[in-house]
């Protein structure tokens, strides 16, 4: 029962705790890294290197007044922040963190992640709709269009990996990469499309158009405060961790690495590198306009991902004879 195998209560508890802990720490990591890249200090007052900033933020967010506006639709207003946390945390269930670490080895792993990603869209839509606020409504309209569109390319860009490994099971995909090469080489276009779609799915900067504060206040979570806002906030960081873990598993060999370090360490290193890359993206790239985002997706990414799938399929068929 208390062994480190796939699906034991100890493993599940450790994964849940680590994932949420990392997501909360990212609040501090992001601000420090942004400060570093912009040649300023960032939060460095609370504790060593400002490490306890997270604790201070958590105390603040838990003790703030949890206000539901009287004009809001209470049922969906309360439901919305819970959906994003549940949907993202459920996705972690199928991710293999190491040879014997994971929650479940499902044969529909990738499809399950895609299903949870599409359910996550309800969080921002319901949040904006129930707030009864024009900025929130505009934000959730943008979010709905953006997430539904980028889900399409996200799914298609993964099909090349599925075709190469012959399975939807994420653990089988990692093991297939250990025998051959990491899929980032044969599926480079798929990797780039998945990266872009991943940023759009978790609506991180530069694709944070649903919550662009210069245009529409804070978008869909304008009316939220206290821990309900905190769940949107942490949900976004959880989405960041999820996308980084998925890229690691699908394109960079998961826990695969030289044997002098434990496999989980390699996984954490790769995922951490991608998290830092996403934070760098935020510091480096300005936000596109809403219509630019949509036309870029449908007119450029969709044909590109279809061509990528077609060429991959043709090469697989011709080499198998």
């Amino acid at each position: 029962m208390l062994t480190l195998e796939v699906g034991t209560p100890l493993t599940i508890g450790l994964i849940l705790g680590t994932v949420i802990g990392v997501a909360a720490m990212l609040i501090w990591v992001e601000r420090r890294l942004l400060g570093f890249w912009q040649e300023r200090l960032g939060p460095n007052r609370v504790g060593p290197l400002g490490l306890f900033q997270v604790v201070a933020d958590m105390i603040k967010i838990f003790t703030k007044e949890d206000w539901v506006p009287p004009f809001a639709d209470r049922f969906s207003f309360v439901l919305a922040p819970a959906i994003i946390m549940v949907a993202v945390l459920m996705s972690f269930a199928v991710i293999p963190f190491g040879p014997n670490i994971g929650i479940v080895d499902s044969n529909i792993g990738i499809l399950f992640v895609l299903a949870m990603a599409s359910l996550g869209a309800y969080s921002v839509m319901l949040g904006g709709l129930s707030s009864d606020n024009k900025y929130a409504l505009l934000g959730s309209l943008r979010a709905a269009a953006q997430m539904v569109s980028y889900e399409v390319f996200m799914g298609i860009s993964l099909l090349g990996v599925v075709a190469l490994s012959g399975s939807f099971n994420l653990r089988v995909i990692v093991e297939a990469q250990q025998d051959g090469m990491w899929y980032v080489l044969p599926q480079f276009i798929g990797f780039v499309i998945f990266l872009i779609a991943g940023v759009a799915e978790s609506h991180r900067l530069p694709f944070d158009i649903p919550e662009a504060e210069q245009e529409i206040c804070a978008g869909y979570h304008t009316e939220y405060s206290g821990m309900k806002f905190g769940m949107f906030f942490v949900g976004e960081y959880l989405g960041l961790v999820l996308i980084s873990s998925l890229i690691t598993v699908l394109f960079f060999g998961g826990w695969d690495g030289p044997a002098f370090l434990p496999p989980v360490f390699w996984f954490a290193m790769k995922a951490g590198a991608f998290i830092c890359f996403f934070i760098l993206l935020r510091a480096a790239i300005p936000r596109p306009r809403y219509d630019q985002l949509m036309s870029y997706g449908w007119l450029f990414l969709l044909p590109l991902s279809l061509i990528n799938l077609l060429v991959t399929g043709a090469i697989i068929l011709s080499t198998q004879g």
Partner: protein, 160 residues
Amino acid sequence: MTLLFYLAASVAVISTVCVILQSNIVHALIYLILSLLAVAVVFYVLGAPFAAVLEAIVYAGAIMVLFLFVIMMLNLGQHSRDQERAWLQPKMWLAPAIMAAILLFQFVNVMLGTTEPLSGSAVGVLEVSALLFGPYVLAVELASILLLAGLVAAYHLAKK
């Protein structure tokens, strides 16, 4: 597994009833999503994981998002809620109740006749794909051409 089946099935039935009884359209939609997810669990328990996850992606994840998207645009308020409530008068229930009773009768009749156990064999992704791209490839191609035609037509109407 049997317990999970009955749990998911009763969630599906109860939430579907809630869809009909709700006068707030957004709440009705949330119940409909819950019902679809419960049906997905039923599929999974019965040994069709691929159908289950497609139900979640296509119905709960894509089609219902479009429904919600349209509702956002419509500016429905107290007015539509009152109208819905007016439609839920007792005399409105008569004809649907008779039809539902006929269906229930047939359903019970069929269920009493069958003696097969609850769960058959599991059908994974590979088996479904082999069937879709084997004997049924013509039907798949025809359906995709139909979808393409619908897409082009919708694009044309939107351009007008």
